[in-house]
Symmetry: C2
Subunit: 112 residues, 2 copies
C-alpha cells in the first residue's frame, strides 16, 4: 500500500506508467530514450515500480520488456477510495451545514 502510493507520487514514474499503458513491452533502453535523465536513473524508477508490483517484466534474451500491471490500483480503490466515497455525500452534506453555520461564528485574528 505504501509502496504503491510512493511509486505513484513521482511524476517521472507516472510518465513511465503512461508510456507503458500506451505501448507495452518497451525495454529499459527504449524507456530511457524518451526520458530527461540517464538510463540508470530510469532503471531506479522502474525498480520502484516493480517493487510496487505496478510493472511486470519479461526477459527476452538481453532485452528486458516492461508491462503495466494495473492490479494494485484496484486495491487502492477498494481499500481507500471506495471507503471514503461512501462517506462523500455525507461529508458534503456536513460541509454544507458547517458553511451555513459559519455566519454565526465569531471572526478572530489568527496567529501568523
Amino acid at each position: 500500500m505504501t509502496d504503491v502510493f510512493h511509486a505513484l507520487a513521482d511524476p517521472t514514474r507516472r510518465d513511465l506508467l503512461d508510456r507503458l499503458f500506451l505501448t507495452g513491452g518497451l525495454t529499459l533502453s527504449e524507456l530511457a530514450e524518451g526520458a530527461p535523465m540517464s538510463r540508470q536513473g530510469v532503471a531506479k524508477h522502474i525498480a520502484i515500480l516493480e517493487a510496487a508490483n505496478l510493472v511486470t517484466t519479461e526477459w527476452e534474451g538481453r532485452n528486458k520488456r516492461h508491462f503495466l500491471n494495473p492490479v494494485p490500483l484496484t486495491g487502492i480503490v477498494h481499500r481507500w477510495v471506495g471507503k471514503f466515497e461512501d462517506a462523500r455525500l455525507d461529508a458534503l452534506a456536513e460541509f454544507k451545514t458547517r458553511l451555513e453555520g459559519q455566519t454565526d461564528k465569531k471572526e478572530t485574528k489568527r496567529h501568523g
Copy 2:
C-alpha cells in the same frame, strides 16, 4: 496529483485520515495525543494533508478543527484508476497470452 499521492504514501498520514474519517472535527492536540510523535510532528503531517487538499480545517477560537476531504481521491480514481481499469481485462488477456507462449521461449541465465 503528485501532492495527493505523496500525502497518501505515508502510513502516519493515512492513520490521521482514518481517524478523521471516524471522527470529524478533531483538533491538532487531540490528533497528537493518539500519535507516536510530538505535536509538531503531527502538525507537519497535517500541513502536507492540507496542501494536498485531503484535509479541510476550520478555526474555532484557538482550536483548529480538522475534517477529511475525500474529493481528491475521486480525482485519482477518474484520472488514474478508471483509465487503467478499462485496460485491465485486456491486459489480463494479453498477460495470459504471454504466459502461454512462455514455454516456447528460450531460458537463459541472467546477470546478477
